[in-house]
Symmetry: C2
């Protein structure tokens, strides 16, 4: 799909609802992708995101050494690919080929965008002090992409053990909050 | 509503989907409540949760000094109350009275459960080392409550500026993942 650049100040609106993301890394010229639900916004602008990548994940070493990744946000059409990514390891699987995901060059980092995801956030690791204790990385989003045609994306929200809630209707209330 | 105790190992399934929560605190005998979307799981069991409570929030001092809170999970029926909590301050408002929320005694902490919320997680602050830099508190869930009658709760997921996605349909895929 054709993505457009998104102002960095609008990134929080993509991550606050809590979607599963597909995190891509690239190390020694080899891209990989993992499914991740443990993330939170930490700051609006520049957007800072905290996320847990376990030491058991193949992506851990790539994230720690290259200090770059892309958070790609999938929608319900990609549910099988998301679960496939979560149940396999980059150690022995080319997950892009296995699950029909298309890597595309990013603008600022070596990790690829995933063409099939409606939004992609290029990130740099800016703080690793919480990695030893919590496997918690602080990322700065340096470039954001979104498919402007997707108004209410049907994102996936993990409930555990293969169960997902799919984003439903949108409501809008009068609010002074950001 | 009548809530039952939930095993702590199942708490992640409530927070992974990314719902807005109503965070209650109690300081000097006075309870307060704020809306919060910036949270993430950090560990399965005992469940650790990381969350951002801004120094500008009235709840910040209560959380920092009492080191206790309750994360209450509202559903769509409470949308007006959630936005009301987000747009007012405990400094000058009794938000329980103002928005029709009923405080109930918790089992392990002084902060109250909210009767109208389908799930409530009693928490203790276990790490404040990231508070100075990110306003990021690490909480341990010490007791969890859930209304067993609610199978697919229609939780609220903030998209920014008063827009919320409401939890839609649930899907289940074959997965070996927790």
């Amino acid at each position: 799909m054709k993505k457009k650049s998104l102002p960095l100040g609008k990134v929080y609106g993509l991550l606050e609802p809590g979607p599963v993301v597909l995190l891509t890394t690239s190390r020694k010229g080899r891209p990989n992708v993992m499914a991740m639900s443990w993330h939170t916004m930490l700051e609006f602008e520049p957007p800072l995101v905290g996320c847990v990548v376990s030491g058991r994940d193949y992506s851990f070493a790539a994230l720690k050494t290259t200090r770059e990744c892309v958070m790609n946000i999938p929608t319900v059409e990609l549910a099988e690919a998301v679960v496939g990514c979560g149940n396999s390891s980059g150690d022995d699987t080319d997950k892009f080929a296995a699950f029909g995901l298309t890597p595309e060059p990013a603008a600022c980092v070596a990790a690829p965008l995933i063409a099939e995801c409606y939004a992609s956030l290029e990130c740099r690791v800016v703080d690793t002090r919480m990695v030893n204790r919590y496997n918690f990385f602080v990322l700065e989003v340096v470039k954001a992409w979104i498919d402007p045609a997707r108004k209410d994306p049907r994102t996936l929200h993990h409930r555990g053990r293969g169960a997902f809630m799919v984003a439903g209707e949108s409501i809008r209330l009068k609010s002074r909050m950001k």
